[in-house]
Symmetry: D2
Subunit: 338 residues, 4 copies
């Protein structure tokens, strides 16, 4: 941390700032420029308050130099975390493909989806039993009945289950059925929920909030990791910008940015990041070319009958085409789809 | 709702779309342009799916015409909702001023704040006992001990209590102590929580999410109202943009925009919407000039010692100056501060 | 400027960075933390390249501490610049009100507007003769004929003329007629144009680009000032965000932010910053309450017949109401409308 | 175009709106819903004003249905435009790679860059002679001397020249030397400049403004095409969002979005869209995987000595690696790099 004093700061003000730092057991390095004095702070800065210093007379600015997250950072763990999902080693050169309908609607719909996904080469089945919906009048999900269907279809197909948990009081219930607990974009900073899933032994799929920075996503992951659960997969799903041609703007930069900062695997959700099925294939290919460790896509046997997100769902044959294309792009970048 | 067919749509495709609408018991009005055919839908559109239609062959676009919220809208209730907080009729010509520290830290800090706020003319005391923090290593609030301090200080000063509830399992506990339950920006779309506070008899202070549209804020309010609780105060607190000179960008337009759409009162939080105490007074004045029904501001007797948000907290004398200025601006726009 | 070395930087890498700085005639102050070494640079940093240093091995980050603009900054000139427009001392406690139609359309339209504006208390007449339009098929302005009408109406009413100049080759022509040259939002970073108007002796009204930061606006002003023209008025006119309820988002924070950084006057354009006439009055009041030095608003005698921007234009009686309200708010904040 | 009347609109208001449309020689189709009346307009809507109608009493909203651009749209020309640059048929299955330094600095720098680019497989040389710079104190380019160097290096290497033109008065000069005229992001809505380059016979590389929508980019292209020049290549170069980890946010969605709307080729500039050379390779790969028709990247033999954009420039060996990777990805998506 560094304290930048104002051009006009008096010697007394500089001494006051130094005294505060030293009283808290830290050391300072003083740098007097022609215009300004800068006070470098040496030691564990968690003992002092950035805000306290910012409010001192004569202080212009306080700059943090080290990162606010620890266990999540690549400095803490240089090598990739490898997380096993249905035999796919996510974080290695193996690409994970999760697919399924937005909402669990019926046994037929789910089973038909799952069989098609398995046949095409998908590795895990997604499907929402508890649905966060903007409108209180929209379908809110089948609840536990939906979880039971998911478990039944896993039994039949062997595909592990990825499903969203929306509230702390649902964590035990959802963890009983699911292999991977999804934290949705709207809950990325629901800290009580992050705390709760950090206590489980399930793989966590943590989606980026629609206006969260990459750093905030890493801080949210830190909540989970610091509660003991190290198996977190990050998911870029588009951010909110001024552009209205697509539902969200895919932040493709986030793939290499996150991989530079953290050892956790990073996947992309091209269904939400575009909002239109026509754009899902090119953006899925882009994700793999950029280095993503996997994809999560919405697939529905009859999108025109879907209760939610039909417009961004792929039909099974389109999904099969996507998997073939992903396989080719993965090879071109020296990765593979098992 | 209107279905816009593609220029190239065939008669068969048009007939197929019409048939779907009519089979669901609605009527259509057909408009054949030189370039396109448009199908207007007459009746209760909740019976049909916009997405189903969007995916039909030959359909270019489906446009929703009516608003997605009902009870919250000014069409549903043309006159303002008036909500009584400590004798201030919020939604009338009376301005509500809520103030207090970001976090409850100690009995001394809270009591000193409350006495200064009351003396300066504030109407209610804010203070967080459960704190949503970006970092798992930051102070997370005093919890129930904080709520007890708030209640004790209310006893002494007579100021009602505004405090945040972060999770459904906290609702009963917080409602036992608080007069006004605050839903924070990060929880604006925590639908389980909105549902839960909609079942209480407390006034709800609903803060806009940092990247939520005005319409999404109204949809979140609809969750609370549709669960039976009609006493909701909306709060603009700044949105996330590319500008980095301030913590957030105050969306001052949102004041008249929301007031045009809803009968609920709308207040502003200039502390969070700017992030720097130097800007709080001008933006507080702007809010009242724009027609806001009140303010919620952070006040701390010793901001440089605050455990959180010190940089945006006003000292008591600055707060007193703000109240004097607000009084003058309120009169200029024919409102009043009691 | 400070160089933050990586945690893993070697002594050789540190020495290399220091050598580069010293070879360019600057001094360094070294600060060795427990984790990192920081190199503070003392002297005129224009001699060295931030980017060169950023690319050196072992360098994590280079932080600029001083501001990139000079003449525009309040450090350079602590007291407000006062710019006289028709007897109004802009930058003092006097509020400037500029009004008029988006485009000059005809003698009748312009004269009727100007007389109404003068009667209501406006100080200057705006009107576009050269119009930047998104579509090549939209009305592009009357050109010089429009400038002649503006000059004729000035003759009759005594109101000085504010009009846009869109290209360097128009500067001489427009400066021949206009009292104030407006640089539109789309041209805020048209550096050739900024250079050209910096050579004129006209007052410059510089509008913020729709996605420019406050700092970039100040850098654009620096282009004008550094070419010799010190009479620049800055204008906030709304920024582009994800919110679609209004045409732009009024960045009301920018008023106090800019006034803290620069000595130049700052006004607001509530017509463009909202895009709807219904919101112009509340946002105009907010601007003055926040401390703005003036307003520029669109007024048209018959908005429904306007060739451009009719939806955000005030009728003359609404404008007169605005001036009355602005007068009241100005007094409440100890300013005045002459 | 459709006029949506308010729920409360009177028969007289409806008749008034219809009369306006019919008086302008257009026909209407009336659709009376249970809640609202909608008036569909049939005919050439350029004869009437959307804004005039929006301001009529009883009108809630006016919706445009057809696109505001014509010649640029894929409806106007369904098959791709193919533009020949140095033998590469841009818009076909052939990928165009443009590379070079941000600024022309010297004969040595430019020649060294060009030889390395040619050797690695690049097809054209970029380099700025006129530079748009945020600061008036930064290097503004070599001007005509830079153009002469570009021409000389073209003579030696055979690589055609891509260079920026910043103002209308430069168009003739730059066109004399350059093969491709670049319109920079800050000038995307410099309509006078678009008009001027539309009169030349050079290929135009039109970069998206940093906060322009895809539709606005297409409207800017329409300015060029409607002036007679049909050889326009669109370039996504990143948009401005709240994310600060990268200089801009690559809008990868824009690739398929633009290709769906227009017949013009679309390329990506990963240097500006990320701002850091570390991210250029993954994002370049992503662009090709998403279907882009080419790339423009910054390459500098000694980035640490570059006068501008050093941080985002590739060294020649890194560029050669990029070309190899692009070749592999192109094949995976059935495209090729000549």
């Amino acid at each position: 941390m560094m304290i930048i004093m104002r051009t006009s700061a008096s010697q007394e003000q500089i001494s006051h700032a130094i005294a505060y730092v030293e009283q808290n057991g830290l050391n300072v390095h003083l740098s007097r420029g022609t215009e300004r004095t800068i006070i470098g702070i040496v030691g564990d800065i968690r003992r002092i308050s950035k805000e306290t210093i910012e409010l001192m007379d004569g202080v212009d600015n306080v700059m943090r130099i080290s990162k606010p997250y620890k266990i999540t950072s690549r400095e803490f763990q240089p090598e990739n975390s490898i997380i096993n999902v249905n035999g796919v080693k996510v974080g290695s050169d193996e690409i994970l493909i999760i697919a399924g309908p937005c909402s669990v609607e019926s046994r037929e719909q789910l089973l038909e989806s799952a069989l098609a996904i398995k046949e095409a080469g998908g590795h895990a089945l997604r499907g929402g039993a508890f649905k966060p919906r903007t409108s209180p009048y929209a379908f809110q999900g089948m609840g536990e009945a939906g979880l039971e269907l998911l478990a039944e279809v896993r039994e039949i197909t062997g595909l592990p289950i990825v499903t969203e948990v929306m509230a702390t009081e649902q964590v035990d219930l959802v963890a009983k059925y699911a292999d991977v607990l999804q934290i949705g974009a709207r809950n990325m900073q629901n800290f009580n929920l992050l705390h709760a899933v950090g206590k489980t032994d399930r793989v966590i799929l943590l989606k980026r909030g629609m206006s969260a920075t990459a750093e905030e996503l890493l801080m949210a992951a830190e909540y989970v990791l610091s509660n003991g659960n190290r198996r977190v997969i990050l998911c870029e799903r588009g951010i909110r910008t001024f552009e209205t041609a697509t539902r969200n703007t895919t932040d493709i930069n986030a793939i290499p940015v996150l991989q530079a900062q953290t050892h956790l695997p990073v996947i992309l959700d091209p269904s939400h990041s575009t909002g239109k099925w026509e754009y899902v294939l090119p953006i899925a290919r882009a994700a793999i070319a950029a280095g993503a460790d996997g994809l999560i896509v919405e697939v529905h046997p009859h999108p025109e009958e879907a209760v939610s997100d039909g417009a961004q769902s792929l039909k099974p044959e389109k999904f099969a085409q996507m998997v073939r294309q992903i396989r080719a792009v993965a090879e071109a970048v020296e990765r593979k789809v098992k």
